[in-house]
Point group: C2
Chain length 487, copies 2
């Protein structure tokens, strides 16, 4: 059961005119040249300075000439393959493909008893097992939930190890908390993949450069990136411009600033190592002006992801954005209309990688087991929606239409018998049955059905094998570093 | 608070290639020419025959030459205005606009106590009040629910009267059960609009021609159409091809047959009265092969509506399709991911009119008050998603970005204060607040919040005035016909 990204069979949705793309492009370059960015990593500042960025005023304030940015865009690849320890699970990122990772970074979990509580390592393992076994999840998450019962100092070691052992798909790190943590991650990956040379220019794990919008690049985040990019591991540059708080209230301004922030991050990756894969990312949206909370499931959020995907295409970069997102704290109607709006918009607009593809609730803060399993169904539905419509003499079936004739039935036609098994999507969660049958079967809503399905899936999980030598090397790295960090 | 359709600011989504459009076009013409249709209305058969259709074999079996169909397509308008008794509520149908009607035809209601039961006249009135007062509903439904406590013989009279009195928006009849019922409807409309001459070529109400797929046109349905089209009232031609039962199991075959059925219906409208507005409709989808139930919320359903919208554009016709549809019997996760998938696909693909735009559950069978109010929010979200992104120096806000600078905050910037009120969508149902606040406020899910909101809306309803003379004429028609029909 190899895991393949969703492939869209038709051209992407463009919501901007060509002129609007040029406006947002021009505004971003103007921001980079005249307003500039602030970078709190001296090493990154030096890289920018040597490449021609103007350093003036406060420390770390950089103005980027457009030639510098244009050159970086010319060396960043348009697509790449993210390799898994099982080559059957290698993932193509780019083009008309959309690969999905589950939730990234939630501190809380909503468990199968419906209780919201701090995430644990057991939750991390269970969610990683679900991710590893589903054909709808293509990339594992180092932070599918925060394992809050593991000490912070060694949490990354335990979670990387578990992700590497429990699944055989590629992994996305998310935000890496500084250089030492990045080095640990790369050492564990090297242990599994056969040494650091096996990682060099061979993407196996992605890290995030989350911009501290507006226009601020934090030291820990940047230095994690420096380590990953040094080996040519992919970087996801993601501004989180909440319009009205971390950027202008007007979407055009927020998107112009967003665009400038991505281009600055892309430039940095190419200064570290030209050709490093880098994703044009977005988590930009608005805030709810009554509560001050982020509005991740808003229509503005969908607009921002569609714009980001179109801008990424304009720059020849793969795009990260969207996902199964909601501001609802429970897997209810809101949770599902918001996430379907974002998922579908993202797939149609040409997003290539989704970082919160399953399970997320409550504006990124919680991951829910029931919603996770519902999301596997949503992803499967989208795969079906965007696949090629096969039009051939056999599928047009004009002879069958003639034979059945007006007012007839197709159920027992030979053509129907030939095709009905593969012709249509069969849901695992959705019901389609007469009301009385549904009631007789327990009258369960979708979340309840997902709860039962989730328990079945977890009971049927089988750990993929890992070569004993690699396993030993991995354990050695983890135990050595744990000892050092716990001192 | 005038009610305006959703207007999409960017080009529609095309999921077929040009070559695929031509394949489905060629297949449809081949079906019409060589397999033909069956029409059980002698008057309609005679119209077809006189226009050049070949009548042979069984009675009512007609083969349609392509010139006949092409000529009909040349006289059918690409867009039209559906007039309301309050001109502020006139609705443009066509182009980049999408107008919505609530549920059409459900026999059951799920009430505000969560009880599913046969619909009543009181339900009809309540749902019509909600439709009349919401800016997200543009066209009222003569059958928003079946008023099962009103005798069948006079149900149409009571419901038309209520729809005309409780709202001042245009009305869609849905399926009209034969000539006498159509005549009654037109007489009531004439009473309100100022005589039959006021209806002549002045669209005020739409009727449905639902095809009995495959390729069968039922007498009662066709004769209702003849009455509406005679006055130039718009007709919605809608095949209901459940792939595998009423058409080939393969989507290509189902869509080819569907296309032929629409073109035959369009041709009939133009034979009655050239220039009559006619919608390219679709309710085509698959069946669930385990239960035999229709799968209205399936990905195949979304594919069919996108294809129909593209074919409608190809023929220069406005399109009816999609809607807030689901196979779930309750307003849960499934109900909302399915309907959002269909609503968003429909709006992006260029559907111009949705016949089940709010409240529908259980594969058309039930209308739910909670879901109805949730759907008003979904429609408002889609309006926001597809509106123009305004990019001007003021919205780009480069001066503000410069003034705030890296790491700053925009909340108190003058630009934010100028824009924040209008910049973003404010939901009525969705929550965006910290978990503890949500819990303290009752911990209600979206359906529960919609329940309370629905009660508030119904309590605030005000009936729009109708000129006393028109009201008297309407009552006279209804009472006279009731006496005759019950007599």
């Amino acid at each position: 059961m190899a895991s393949r990204p969703i492939r869209r069979a038709f051209p992407p949705l463009n919501i901007l005119s060509e002129g609007q793309v040029e406006q947002l492009d021009a505004a971003a370059f103007r921001i980079l040249e005249t307003i500039g960015i602030q970078v709190t990593s001296p090493e990154a500042v030096e890289l920018f300075r040597r490449a021609g960025a103007r350093v003036d005023g406060e420390a770390g304030r950089l103005r980027l000439p457009r030639e510098l940015v244009r050159h970086a865009l010319s060396t960043a690849p348009g697509a790449y393959t993210l390799h898994a320890r099982n080559p059957l699970n290698d993932v193509h990122i780019g083009g008309d493909d959309c690969a999905l990772m589950p939730a990234g970074g939630p501190p809380y979990v909503r468990d199968l008893d419906g209780v919201r509580r701090p995430g644990t390592f057991a939750d991390f393992e269970a969610l990683t097992r679900l991710s590893a076994m589903s054909p709808e999840i293509h990339v594992l998450a180092r932070k599918v939930v925060e394992a809050q019962d593991v000490p912070v100092a060694i949490r990354h070691l335990e979670c990387w190890r578990a992700a590497l052992l429990l699944g055989d798909k590629p992994i996305t790190a998310g935000f890496v908390g500084g250089r030492p943590e990045a080095q640990d991650a790369l050492e564990m990956l090297a242990a599994v993949f056969g040494g650091e040379s096996a990682l060099d220019g061979h993407p196996v794990a992605q890290c995030s450069l989350n911009v501290n919008s507006p226009l601020l690049f934090d030291r820990a985040m940047v230095e994690g990136l420096l380590e990953f990019a040094r080996l040519g591991q992919p970087v996801i540059v993601t501004p989180f411009v909440m319009a009205g708080v971390m950027g202008p209230a007007t979407l055009a301004g927020a998107l112009a600033q967003h665009n400038a922030e991505v281009l600055a991050g892309v430039t940095l990756t190419q200064l570290v190592r030209p050709g490093t894969p880098v994703l044009y990312g977005t988590a930009t949206s608005n805030v709810d002006l009554r509560s001050g909370s982020p509005a991740t499931g808003s229509p503005e959020s969908a607009v921002c992801v569609a714009v980001a995907a179109q801008l990424a295409r304009h720059y020849g970069l793969p795009c990260r954005g969207g996902g199964a997102l909601t501001d609802s704290p429970v897997p209810d109607a809101q949770s599902n209309y918001e996430r379907m709006m974002l998922l579908l918009t993202s797939v149609l607009a040409g997003v290539n990688f989704m970082l919160h593809g399953a399970g997320s609730l409550e504006s990124y803060l919680t991951v829910d087991f029931e919603q996770f399993v519902i999301d596997l169904e949503l992803i499967a539905m989208l795969r079906e929606l965007v696949r090629p419509l096969e039009i051939t003499p056999e599928t047009l079936a004009l002879d069958t239409i003639a034979a059945v004739g007006p007012g007839g039935f197709f159920l027992d036609a030979p053509h129907t018998l030939r095709h009905y098994r593969q012709a249509h999507f069969l849901p695992a969660i959705s019901v389609r049955q007469p009301y009385d049958q549904w009631l007789a079967a327990g009258g369960q809503d979708a979340a309840r059905r997902a709860n039962l399905r989730c328990r079945e899936l977890l009971a049927s999980y089988v750990e993929p094998p890992m070569e004993p030598a690699a396993r030993d090397r991995l354990h050695n790295v983890v135990e050595r570093r744990k000892a050092a960090l716990l001192g």
